[in-house]
Amino acid sequence: MMPVFDATLCGLILAVALAAVAGRDVFRAIVFFIVYGLMLAVAWVRLGALDVALAEAAISGGLTAGLFLVAYGRLAAVGAADEPAGLLNPPAALAGCGLSAALGWAWFALPQPDRPAPQLAEALPRSGVENPVTAVLLNFRAWDTLLESVVLLTALIGVLMLARVGAWPGRPGLAQHVRPGGVMAGFGRVLPPVGLLVGVYLVYVGAERPGGAFQGGTVIAAVGLVATLTGAFRPPAVDAPGWRAALVAGPLLFLLWGLAGAVIGNGFLTFPPTLAGAAILAIEAALAVSIAVTLAVLVLGAPEQAARE
């Protein structure tokens, strides 16, 4: 039965993606993209990538939906939400088909991997954690993760640079307002505590089970977005010291630990096996805070509210 399930799922994913690029309606394309993300989360489960499925569910199900819908609302407010007529573009279709065909050919030309990857299984006990994905992210390829956390900060600086002069340094995004005691305000009070608990849980179990700083941080960011949009929480102004400390805490702790490794261990970002478990938990906690704050502010956008009341 599973082949039929896979075929149905893949067919739906392709149909949804086609619907997202075809037609003229911008809002429809956005809704199809939200649906696409939900289906992709199921596909990751089928591919045995639960860590990826968690990240995809939190990002596509929450943050991307919020990002694109709020942006659509802003474009509609300035009358820029309609799309000019676009006819079928044959050269583009040719390029797309060519790329698909090339990748399809590449799949069947790929050499079989030599399995099971012996180095990883051997090295896992020395990494300090049991979840191999966390071991790769925070130990074996810690360089990538360190640089990625810096990439997030860079994107955030780019978004904040879009603030207009009068709005700096205000609170990120638009001034949200809701009817006190209404459905939206009520939901904003009920969901965040539960969501925060789930996010912290995901960070904590990341060492042994699917989860980790990225998944947990994303969930916390999405919960923060819910709380902000529903008026339950007002984000602090972008120049508040605590806020800035939260942004750099993860990358900074990561970097310091990397330097410590250079002094007491075998080189930059090498963790002595005895300390690795505790260090990874500490870095993951700090990274989760930084990722959560960075992503939430990225989605909310540059300050647009009056700088100081």
Partner: protein, 113 residues
């Protein structure tokens, strides 16, 4: 049992084609949004059905989907409000000026809270 559960899951996926048709067809933005909500609920159900075969940690993914399912609807409600930051329940939801006034009220009320 896994065969049966995957059969039900496949049936659920197939029924989603109807929801997708509604998203494509509309006619209103709210119709499209409802189609997306249906896919979200069905996605949670599919993940539950896969859990016995794929490992029970799959339920964590279903938990996230259920937890964040309403975020899209909140974003939609925001997008359809006149200034992009309102609430369809507010008084005079169709009138930007009244909304601005309401926003000022809320801001004053919360400034020190």
């Amino acid at each position: 049992m896994t065969f049966w559960l995957s059969l039900i899951a496949t049936g659920l996926l197939a029924s989603l084609a109807g929801a997708l048709w509604r998203v494509w067809r509309g006619p209103r933005a709210a119709d499209r949004m409802m189609g997306a909500q249906l896919v979200g609920t069905a996605g949670v159900a599919v993940l539950m059905l896969l859990a016995p075969a794929e490992g029970w940690a799959t339920l964590d993914v279903a938990l996230l989907l259920a937890l964040l399912a309403a975020l899209a609807a909140i974003g939609f409600a925001k997008a359809t409000s006149p200034d992009g930051a309102g609430d369809p329940e507010e008084d005079g939801a169709g009138d930007p000026e009244e909304q601005q006034a309401a926003a000022a009220d809320t801001t004053d009320g919360r400034a020190d809270g």
